[in-house]
């Protein structure tokens, strides 16, 4: 099947408006006869549920958590971008569009990104009307902050809990529709397959996670908003339950999976402390505004620190290697996420990691404290302030800016970051790749849509800070509700879809068989054993930096783990009850397939772009020596994979990317 992105004709700034003017609409009376299933209730799924229900469709919403409010969108800290230009600093729809495409290293679809930038302003209006308590200035107007990779202040925020507040906004909009009976909410339910009737998505098979019951649910369209697949690495900043099952199931039933290798590894996370570690915690990117990143220059100091013979504060300035400032004098500690992460890995691989695991670098606030302290002393007219006084004054400023983050760090690591530098290390954070969708957000299965982090469309090979929340809400509130109507307009005479159809029967049997297999397998190793093993291969060979040999090994190793998993996995308990091990088994089984496709995609893409760094594709000389080298001639396309059984047999379909409104340039931060 040839990929048709269905991008409307015409100039980029008119595409969305023209499109909306010409699509088919469903009359309100008919909407009452149409059912839509939404899987996932984060920012994308939750907002889609609310709007679809408001429009009059009957929505069935599914979440594995006990409430829509707990979806992992809630953990987003920093903020949400919108081209409001409230600060009058020259922001515009075009500039947001440009920054996002450039930030994504020119691997996203232009028309989708432009539309995203276009509706971004509506999101803020909408959220304020819903009672989202965004930060305000003393004049009572909305405040903005600035984020990495851009030159304007366009990020709206609610303390360090922007994701939480936006999700609660979407959740409140859902609540209103649940109360009206327009949304039927299925908490603690997990989608285990999609049902396709006559080539169209017509329902899902879901498991009630409390009773273990397998349920059939029918609808005229199915929307997947189940988030990213970062947990393929086992350790990530994702929630423990975040999984790729819904996305992977539709992939296996015909939806192409695009650019799986595009993964964002966030540079400022709290390092792993031991093998028992279950997840990683992100520290906001904003810390890099004032923190300086370094490792010791000399190996003796590294060893002395690891053995506890020396403290980082014992090292003088010239015994420290501020490697980001050294390598990137122009941007210094504020280089984009992918660059900062790779640089940390480079130093740690060279043996300079500062903790027991050898995977940590320092993020030091001492100079910021001194700088702020000196400034405060001047402001307060203190002459000849002592060092202690300067420190005291400076600490107050740092505390006001980052107090909650410092406190979080201290709770986890049990070290006071005002006295000793923080330790940080990169961690898997966001997956730009995902289910391939066209301009309508429809997958290659008719009637099956994919929104939010679960799809691939807007962030290219790297996502800019504060853009994930924007995309989730844009898809759910403002894009999908229009585009889905165009498809459902043909369904007004279809009537209720019966769940007694043989297709439902077959899909249910497939699901039940698999569950029975797990319960009866009586292997010897726990699900986590395999998940951790997969995660290690992914991190070591398909992590921040990748090469051909490693990727080939990874594919073989993942396949071997998968085979061992199916032979030897052990799932205790029964299927007719709440059984978290059984839930995990199903998710890990899917990760074990996705992981291999991920490596295959990374192997195919023999260029470096955004979060995907191929060691073979680096600048060989000149000022950019060692930096990522993009290959627009050969790789300016979306890699959409078609499922053919074994992941290794997946077939590649290319959607060529055309850039008519932006000139392709190399990103330079030197």
């Amino acid at each position: 099947m040839a990929l048709d992105s269905k991008v409307p004709q015409g100039p980029i700034k008119d595409k969305w408006t023209d499109y909306k003017n010409h699509i088919d609409l469903v009359n309100p009376a008919n909407k009452r006869n149409i059912d839509v299933i939404v899987v996932g209730t984060g920012l994308a799924g939750g907002s889609a549920c609310a709007t679809l229900a408001e429009l009059g469709y009957n929505v069935k919403a599914f979440a594995y958590q006990d409430s829509p409010r707990r979806a992992h969108s809630i953990a987003a800290q920093g903020g949400i971008n919108a081209a409001k230009n409230y600060q009058g600093d020259g922001d515009s729809t075009y500039r947001l569009f440009y920054d996002t495409v450039k930030g994504g290293d020119y691997r996203s679809r232009e028309a989708n990104v432009y539309r995203l930038a276009e509706v971004s302003a509506n999101i803020i209006d909408q959220c304020v009307a819903q009672g989202v308590p965004f930060a305000r200035d003393y004049g009572g107007l909305l405040d903005n902050r600035s984020f990495g990779g851009v030159l304007v202040s366009r990020t709206f925020y609610a303390k360090g809990q922007t994701g939480q507040q936006l999700l609660l906004g979407a959740y409140s909009a859902m609540n209103r529709q649940i109360a009206r009976g327009k949304i039927e909410m299925f908490n603690r339910h997990e989608m285990l397959d999609v049902v396709i009737v006559d080539g169209k998505a017509r329902g899902i098979i879901a498991r009630n996670l409390i009773t273990g019951e397998i349920e059939r649910h029918s609808a005229h369209a199915v929307v997947i908003g189940s988030g990213g697949y970062g947990n393929v690495y086992f350790l990530s900043t994702n929630a423990m339950g975040s999984n790729a099952t819904a996305a992977w199931k539709i992939h296996k039933k015909g939806a192409y999976f695009a650019n799986p290798c595009y993964t964002q590894i966030h540079p400022t996370c709290i390092p792993r402390s031991g093998d028992y570690q279950s997840k990683l915690t992100l520290m906001s990117e904003s810390l890099r505004n004032d923190g300086r990143i370094w490792v010791p220059k000399n190996m003796e100091d590294v060893l002395a620190i690891r053995e506890g013979k020396k403290k980082p504060t014992d090292l003088s300035e010239d015994e420290r290697d501020y490697y980001l400032e050294r390598r990137y004098p122009a941007f210094g500690n504020l280089v984009p996420r992918d660059v900062a992460s790779r640089a940390a890995k480079e130093r740690c691989d060279a043996g300079y990691g500062v903790n027991a695991t050898g995977e940590a670098v320092y993020l030091d606030f001492a100079s910021a404290i001194t700088r702020y302290g000196t400034e405060q002393a001047k402001i307060q007219n203190i002459t000849n302030p002592s060092d202690a006084k300067i420190y005291e004054l400076g600490q107050k400023i740092v505390e006001a800016k980052y107090g909650n983050l410092f406190q979080m760090y201290e709770k986890i690591v049990d070290q006071n970051p005002y006295e000793t530098p923080m330790m940080i290390y990169p961690a898997v954070h966001y997956t730009m790749g995902g289910v391939w969708v066209d301009y309508n957000l429809m997958t290659t299965i008719p009637g099956c849509y994919c929104i939010g982090e679960a799809n691939f469309s807007d962030h290219g090979a790297n996502r800019l800070g504060a853009s994930a929340l924007m995309q989730g809400l844009a898809d759910g509130y403002f894009v999908l509700p229009y585009t889905i109507g165009d498809y459902l307009a043909d369904d007004i005479r279809t009537g209720k879809i019966s769940t007694d159809l043989p297709e439902f029967e077959a899909a249910e049997k497939e699901v039940t068989d698999r569950i029975d297999f797990f319960i009866n397998n009586n292997g010897t190793k726990s699900v986590d054993y395999f998940h951790k093993k997969l995660g290690k291969v992914m991190w070591d060979k398909v992590g921040m930096s990748r090469n051909e040999t490693g990727l080939k090994e990874a594919m073989a190793e993942i396949k071997a783990i998968r085979e061992e998993f199916w032979k030897d996995v052990k799932v205790p308990g029964s299927k007719d009850e709440m059984n978290p091990e059984l839930e995990k088994a199903g998710r890990v089984a899917d990760f074990l397939e996705l992981g291999e496709l991920f490596a295959k995609d990374a192997l195919m893409r023999a260029e470096s772009c955004g979060g995907h760094f191929r060691e073979e594709s680096a600048e060989e000389d000149g000022p950019q020596k060692g930096e990522a080298k993009r290959d627009d001639e050969n790789f300016a396309y979306v890699a959409a994979w078609e499922y053919k059984g074994e992941p290794a047999d997946a077939v590649l379909h290319k959607e060529e990317l055309e850039f008519n409104d932006i000139e392709l340039k190399q990103r330079s931060y030197k």
Binding site: T51, R70, N122, Q126, A129, P133, R136, M240, F478
Partner: protein, 246 residues
Amino acid sequence: MNLTLKIWRQKDTSSKGQMVDYKVTEISEHMSFLEMMDVLNEQLVNSGEEPVAFDHDCREGICGMCSMYINGEAHGPDRGITTCQLHMRMFNDGDTITIEPFRAAAFPVIKDLVVDRTSFDRIQHAGGYISVNTSGNTQDANAIPISKHAADEAMDAATCIGCGACVATCKNSSAMLFVGAKVSQYALLPQGQVEAADRVQNMVAQMDLEGFGNCTNTGACEVECPKGISLDNIARMNRELMKASI
């Protein structure tokens, strides 16, 4: 460190449960409490026993999913944290730790340490929203200035993660801190004023219907709240309800 765990085991809502003793060894003080539970579960799976079911998800203190009552306190002995942020360094080698589910008639146990908190959702359905369509065609976000003070106070109320620690810790199993926080968030913002009276009446009515107890102002909820939601929010709700009823 080596620990003895006394954990509530219950097969499902209708079964009778009991406390069961377990031993875990070589627990690192840097582990989070839930990672210690992972160690126990791995141990149980490997020995062919059923692992302990417990709710957890984000493991960074924001989703509100984790819900254990540890040594007689919701989310355990530390302050301003959820169970996933509780670290083993709060305990000593040789300790016996009692782990129970959140208890309240309105939070029935589903299994082991997992409880059903959908009563919170139903309270929200009753009025935890502003009736505005998600059309995006509302007025400009800056059309109504909101004082920084009111916005900040609304934000403080809105940080509630809906974990239910307030109910679990309250000797009366009252949900007033949770409901008060939600009522307050909207009462403090001009957008929420239009339906403020109906909102508070409907939400309080639903709260009562769910079988939550009555607040006697012990203040335990505020102390145990992972997000430090203030008791002032309960006072504000009381005020709002009086205003709405008179």
